[in-house]
């Protein structure tokens, strides 16, 4: 087990897949000579040359579309958005083309493409650069949406995403790049190097309440669990890892065990993905619920710049602790 950063895990995943498959290439803004705006593609240009590590100008709709066209005829593009905020100018390509072509062509053309990049709030970058847009993509049939929380998940899931025959929206945690996690030492080529898309992971076991969170919020929930454990409350933290397809079974199994559920997401409350999770949990766990399912989200506002305000807007450990206590009728 090597302890590596989330950033390094992503880099390894792409490097290994590009070594393995000549059809894999990466395209995006500053991915090559600049070594990546967030240094996720560090060293890839040097290793794979400009043919396979392609610096794109500012034209997300253009290069996302070029990726889709290339994927139609057999390549496996990795399209990097410098941040997922910029994916909005390419959303026509992702939603109207990548997600549709397999269906529109009656199964003749599939789109093996990964759209990846950081998402979720960063630190003091203002409203246009601090958004969690996963529910936009999770809404769309024909896409898969992956949001790893740890380095190990990031590596195993990105490799699965690159090998997947469908368009995968792979949203990395912008503030997770420096976090470290134990990543199993698996040789490239071993089946265990892949983490299947669509499989949730129990990040912490506990009997009293289930916390469902993904990406950065998994860490917040783990921190909250420590605080609550000191008060005798054992939280189970379940990370779906993939929002679409959603591993309802694993989530529901946990909620059935604990009878209580808090869903924590850094996105906005209205039509946030947590609402869908809440629906699924009440549907599958109705008879064992002891309390209404709680949601913890960011405030329903564009992200402010000032550091104190920015923290106030996002779910913090104290917010999760409070929600847990509400679900346990403790306050």
């Amino acid at each position: 087990m090597a302890v590596i950063s989330y950033r390094e895990a992503l880099n390894q995943a792409m490097r290994e897949e590009m070594e393995r498959d000549e059809n894999v290439f990466i395209m995006g803004e500053e991915v090559g000579h600049y070594n990546g705006a967030y240094k996720v593609t560090q060293g890839l240009l040097q290793r794979f040359s400009e043919r396979r590590v392609i610096d794109a100008p500012i034209a997300e709709m253009g290069f996302a579309g070029i990726g889709i066209g290339a994927a139609m005829v057999g390549l496996r593009p990795i399209i990097e958005f410098m941040t997922f905020n910029f994916s909005l100018v390419a959303i026509d390509q992702i939603v109207n083309n990548a997600a549709k072509i397999y269906q529109m062509s009656g199964g003749q053309y599939h789109i093996p493409i990964v759209f990846r990049g950081p998402g979720g709030p960063a630190v003091q970058v203002g409203s246009q650069h601090s958004q969690s847009l996963e529910s936009y993509y999770a809404h769309v049939p024909g896409l898969k949406v992956v949001m790893p929380s740890t380095a190990a998940d990031a590596k195993g899931l990105l490799k699965s995403a690159i090998r997947d025959d469908n368009p995968v929206v792979f949203i990395e945690g912008e503030t997770l790049y420096n976090t470290t996690w134990e990543v199993p030492d698996v040789a490239p080529g071993s089946p265990s190097e892949l983490i299947p898309i669509g499989k949730a992971d129990v990040k912490r076991t506990g009997k009293d309440i289930t916390l469902i969170a993904w990406s950065k919020m998994v860490w917040t929930c783990l921190d909250a669990s420590k605080v609550l454990a000191e008060q005798g409350i054992e939280c189970e933290v379940v990370d779906p890892r993939t929002l679409r397809p959603l591993d309802v079974e694993t989530l529901a199994t946990s909620v059935k065990k604990t009878g209580r559920c808090v869903i924590v997401e850094v996105g906005w409350p209205v039509a946030g993905f947590g609402a869908e999770v809440a629906y699924q949990m009440q549907k599958h766990c109705m008879d064992v619920l002891d309390a209404p399912i709680e949601r913890v989200t960011s405030d329903d506002v564009p992200m402010p710049y000032a550091k104190n305000l920015e923290l106030e807007v996002q779910p913090q450990v104290a917010d999760v602790v409070a929600a847990v206590k509400r679900a346990l009728y403790m306050e």
Partner: protein, 339 residues
């Protein structure tokens, strides 16, 4: 020639060239092109009839009047080359080799349609003929065509992609970005603007500050061309130049072909934004009729022409019958996610 290698113009109307100069050709070259144009015309007419009978639903955008463009351009390709088109693509698909039967069955929403009743008129795809699809939201398909051509360059397999779009799509970002990236990365794609003078109901002079779309190539240092689309052989020759450029140098070309659609934007469009006289004037120069006359002029026997036309009639009737008799579409779940 008024449209050739055009320069910027501030005129409010695209005037038509009355001085037709036929490009030299032979009956052997022209006959199959005429046959394709005629089949497309008859197929479009048959689909219009079926639409009016309620057998075809949704939007139905006909290409009647513009057949020379898709037929001439596609004739410049090899089978392995790619074609990407818009929602007005029945003719392009047919010209690329997709049969009238699967096209008509698709319009009918049948299981035997080329995309199993999932796409309809606007989304014809056919992998066997490298027809990469009809796209209902224009502009975004320009980068897709560039992407297919990019893959060709990436692999070095010398395939070329043709991308068709109307002048109405030339104002959207997807076109601008596709054009920019194709030029920047020297992608072997030929971008063909079928300027049929109306973006739905809006004439060119009300949608473009500079009516010559091909001029957009200049800022990108890209090769360009512009000509009228009345003569199918001319279209073939001029597109072949661009295709050859792409195949040999990877250089893209922006080509604008001036043409005219005789029908409304779609079947639901009565065409109130233009005069009957204008439409009639263009119909006088119907590329299909001119092609037929030219074929006879250069010595194609009348008897052979009659036989060909009967054959086309039978082909389209067969396609309609096939569509009518086919089982309804029955599967909408299998092609969402590839397992």
């Amino acid at each position: 020639m008024k449209y050739g290698r055009a320069v910027a113009t501030a005129s409010k109307r695209v005037e038509h060239d009355d001085h037709h100069e036929y490009v030299d050709t032979t009956p052997e070259e022209l006959a199959p092109l005429y046959r394709q144009m005629l089949a497309i015309r008859r197929m479009e007419e048959a689909s219009a009839k079926a639409y009016s009978q309620g057998k075809i639903g949704g939007f139905l955008h006909l290409i009647i009047g513009q057949e020379a463009v898709c037929v001439g351009a596609t004739a410049a390709l090899k089978p392995e080359d790619y074609v990407v088109a818009t929602y007005r693509e029945h003719g392009h698909a047919y010209a690329k080799g997709v049969g009238a039967r699967p096209i008509m069955a698709e319009l009918y929403g049948k299981k035997t349609g080329c995309v199993k009743g999932l796409g309809g008129s606007m989304h014809i795809f056919d992998k066997a003929t490298n027809f990469l699809g009809g796209y209902g939201i224009v502009g975004g398909h320009v980068p897709i065509a560039a992407g297919a051509a990019f893959a060709s360059k990436y692999r070095g397999d010398k395939r070329v992609a043709l991308c068709f779009f109307g002048e109405g799509a030339s104002t959207i970002g997807g076109f601008a970005e596709g054009l920019a990236l194709a030029a920047l990365w020297k992608i072997p794609v030929v971008l063909i603007c079928e300027n049929n003078q109306y973006s739905m109901g809006t004439p060119v002079y009300r949608s473009l500050a500079v009516e010559d779309v091909s001029l957009r190539a200049i800022g990108h240092g890209m090769a360009r061309d512009r000509f009228d689309g009345d003569d199918v052989v001319k279209v073939k020759r001029r597109i072949a130049e661009a295709v050859d450029r792409a195949r040999t140098t990877n250089e893209p070309t922006l080509v604008e072909v001036v043409t005219y659609r005789f029908r409304g934007h779609s079947m639901s469009d009565p065409g109130l934004y233009r005069t009957k006289e204008e439409v009639e004037e263009w119909k006088q120069r119907d590329p299909l009729g001119r092609c037929r006359q030219r074929l006879l002029d250069i010595g194609f026997p009348q008897a052979d022409l009659d036989a060909m036309e009967a054959d086309v009639k039978a082909e389209i009737e067969d396609a309609v019958k096939f569509a009518e008799d086919s089982p309804p579409a029955d599967d909408y779940k299998s092609y969402v996610i590839k397992e």
